[in-house]
């Protein structure tokens, strides 16, 4: 079996969520299939500047074919077009212009996919919202499997994407919430889809003591791993945690791991370690009392899964449907939606050892049941087998014509997003959910 993994950036040093997801999937599928990675020469997701040479190279034994990006992203043009399609009534042409401005605009990559799609059994496209996935999936629709990595942001409300969701061969969702959202926006219930997510190569014997000695850490601590950014909810986290520190019964220290894009409060019990390697990261998570996950928007939190794999409870932002749903389904984490809840839940996990231990054990079991690599690989190959048996249900809709592109009939994406159901999906077996419209 020959598989193409198509992703916007690819490389060992690229740690973005979807990109890492794609690399892990490619490397694990490569054990049982021939995998090619098709990607761009860009490494920066803001500019899409060509920084790597075009052509083929090997990354961890996987052949990676890179294509040049035609033009870098102009932030002003992108912002203006985003404003137009997200906030105002607009045309399909405006949306295509927005996609073009977002990038990575690589007609060479799309052209290659169009010419060579027949050489592959299936093409896995990562991140629905980028140029390569939209045009690439259209070029190879009979073999296209989409891994949407969709978050609850305004891009999901654009009118160009529902036909894409309906016309690919299958979708590999990250969470039941993501599936419910995409089904609500595109009514693609007849398209095969499965909630897969992603596994993680968690070391068998992490050494918390080594981490404590290396960074001179004493006492219990909560860990946050990820970009320290306002978009990740870190501002709120700092505010809440500083409030929690005023509780005389609290002993937790907050340990932050990741690149700093936000001023970090100066407090002896808030420690920022910067970017650390995987060994230190897993040692830290194994030594922590819990993992804090303050992000508002996640399609799947890999860090949370890693914490669960290590038997640690998670305290997540309940305003993120996916995280809340995961906490409830796994019974392995608590969530907060206000400072009072943050304080009480954090206190509960810190002071009730039994609760923390039970949540951690549940998390480990949840990870083994749903996110261990053999489970993930099996889901992918089951889907490939199923698609091989079935014939493609429908051909992809053609792009709108000249007049249709200019008709201002598309609603503002923000309005579409507002009407989508919210809340976690709690009953995944029956397809029922407790979502509210």
């Amino acid at each position: 079996m020959k598989i193409a993994v198509v992703v916007q950036r690819y490389g060992q040093a690229i740690n973005g969520g979807a990109e890492l997801h794609a690399r892990y999937v490619a490397e694990h599928l490569a054990k049982s299939a021939q995998v090619d990675v098709l990607t761009t020469c860009a490494t920066d997701y803001v500019t899409w500047r060509n920084e790597l040479p075009p052509g083929t190279e090997q990354v961890n034994g996987i052949p990676v074919r890179r294509f040049r990006v035609k033009r870098e992203r102009d932030p002003r043009v992108f912002a203006r077009r985003s404003d137009r399609v997200f906030e105002n009534r607009h045309s399909l042409g405006d949306e295509l212009d927005w996609l073009d401005a977002e990038g990575p605009t690589s007609p060479a990559l799309v052209g290659y996919i169009g010419r060579h799609a027949s050489e592959y059994d299936f093409c896995l496209f990562f991140s629905y919202r980028y140029y390569h996935a939209f045009h690439g999936a259209r070029a190879a629709s009979a073999r296209a499997i989409l891994v949407p990595t969709a978050e609850r942001d305004q891009a999901i409300g654009l009118s160009i994407f529902p036909p894409l969701f309906r016309s690919v061969r299958a979708l590999m969702y990250n969470s039941p919430e993501e599936r419910a959202m995409i089904q609500a926006v595109s009514a693609n219930h007849d398209v095969p889809g499965v909630v897969v997510g992603i596994g993680s190569d968690v070391p068998q014997n992490p050494q918390p003591t080594r981490f404590r000695q290396k960074y001179n850490l004493r006492g219990p601590f909560a860990v946050y791993v990820g970009r320290i950014d306002q978009n990740k909810g870190c501002t709120e986290l700092f505010e809440f945690f500083q409030g929690y520190l005023r509780d005389p019964s609290s002993r937790l220290t907050l340990v932050l791991i990741g690149k700093e894009l936000l001023p970090i409060p100066a407090h002896p019990r808030i420690r920022h370690l910067g970017f650390v390697g995987d060994t230190d990261k897993f040692d830290a998570m194994a030594g922590a009392d819990l993992l804090l996950m303050p992000s508002y928007f996640e399609s799947l939190s890999m860090v949370a899964l890693e914490a669960w794999a290590l038997g640690k409870p998670v305290l997540a932002n309940g305003k993120c449907d996916v995280l809340k749903g995961q906490c409830i389904r796994s019974n392995a984490g608590l969530y907060y939606e206000s400072y009072a809840e943050f304080h009480e839940t954090l206190r509960a996990i810190e002071q009730n050892r039994w609760l923390a231990g039970t949540l951690g054990r549940n998390g480990r079991q949840f990870f083994r049941d749903h996110y261990d690599w053999p489970v993930i690989e099996r889901k992918y190959f089951d889907m490939f087998d199923r698609l091989k048996r079935d014939t493609p249900a429908r051909a992809i809709d053609p792009l709108p014509g000249w007049f249709a592109r200019r008709r201002r009939g598309a609603p503002a994406a923000a309005d579409v997003l507002e009407k989508l159901p919210t809340g976690p999906v709690l009953d995944t077996s029956s397809g029922q959910s407790r979502r509210r419209a």
Binding site: C327, I328, S330, N331, A332, G333, L334, Y335, S338, A340, E341, E344, T345, R347, A348, Q351, N352, W354, L355, T358, L359, N362
Partner: protein, 326 residues
């Protein structure tokens, strides 16, 4: 959270969250979400704040005075050559050629200067306007946050006031209960020390109502039976006499008064009378169950230290009302 209530071996996160939210509601009194607080700040401000002090539609008014759009102010550049400008080179040349002739009729430099100054003024105004808008946005945000915070504080203050009232009433109740319990203890001590102390029917009502210190000291002074004899077999009518004495003391003053009276005016023999003798007397009095006493004394009406006078109790002759003696 040491008092976390989990009874099963497995945890249910939703259930735990419900418990946590319940605890928060208990603590805060009313659980307002951020959205509710904002709605309250926008709509029902007058309910929480002094309407004379803060206008409920403050934010609305503030928003109204802000322009809903930011018009581009027109401006131009005016230099000496502007009035002769044209994209046609020939025409520009002719105008320059005829310029001296024009100046023969009037002085265009004055116009040029005036319009140049005006253009500069326009630029300065535009810059100031932009700066003012930026400040206005900050001010609006500040006012908005202040109103939200004020509302939040007002709600919190209301809740705290209610809690304080609740605590005060509970404290008052506990004080009354404590006083009642103290009086039970004193009564039992007294009861044993002077089983035979006669509170004669000829005593005036005022004597029954006098300070308990003298009432308790009297038996000790008179050298009546020691308390250790309280375990001896009771004769007929002894129990009823005790009840009568109890009634008399009940109307005589508070337990605190009794105790303070003892300490203030020590009488010879009094410590012995209220010491171990009291303990024995309690044992002796075991036929009167403590629960009955508690039930009798914890009620506000029944408590002897209540300010409400009960002349019927204090003035009556106990022997006349005692069914055993009738």
């Amino acid at each position: 959270m040491a008092d976390f209530n989990i009874r099963s071996d497995s945890v249910n996160v939703e259930q735990i969250m419900e418990q946590i939210r319940g605890r928060i509601r208990e603590k805060r009194g009313v659980d307002y979400t951020e959205q509710q607080i904002r709605e309250l700040a926008a709509v029902k401000l007058e309910k929480f704040l002094d309407p004379k002090g803060v206008r409920s539609d403050l934010l609305e008014q503030y928003r109204k005075v802000q322009p809903t759009y930011e018009p581009e102010l027109p401006n131009y550049e005016f230099e000496e050559s502007t009035i002769y400008d044209t994209h046609r080179g020939l025409l520009r040349f002719i105008r320059k050629l005829l310029n001296p002739l024009l100046k023969l009729f009037f002085n265009p430099n004055k116009f040029v200067q005036a319009l140049h100054i005006q253009a500069r003024l326009n630029t300065i105004h535009t810059e100031r306007e932009a700066a003012r808008r930026a400040t206005d946005r900050l001010t609006y945000e500040l006012v908005h946050n202040l109103v939200v915070e004020t509302t939040r504080l007002a709600i919190e203050m209301k809740n705290l006031k209610m809690r304080a009232e609740s605590l005060a009433s509970r404290l008052e109740f506990n004080e009354r209960r404590a006083r009642a319990l103290e009086s039970v203890v004193v009564y039992k001590a007294d009861d044993g020390e002077a089983p035979a102390s006669p509170r004669s029917s000829s005593a005036p009502p005022a004597a029954a109502a006098r300070p308990a210190s003298s009432a308790t000291a009297a038996p000790a002074q008179s050298g009546q039976l020691p308390a250790s004899t309280g375990n001896a077999a009771e004769g007929p009518g002894q129990r009823s006499r005790r009840r009568r004495r109890r009634r008399g003391r009940r109307s005589g003053g508070s337990a605190a008064g009794i105790m303070s009276g003892q300490s203030a005016q020590p009488q010879p023999g009094a410590p012995e009378a209220s010491g171990p003798a009291g303990h024995d007397a309690t044992n002796e009095d075991s036929d009167v169950t403590p629960t009955e006493d508690l039930g009798q004394f914890t009620g506000a009406e029944a408590h002897p230290s209540e300010p409400v006078a009960r002349p019927a109790d204090t003035a009556r002759d106990p022997s006349k009302n005692d069914p055993e003696t009738q």
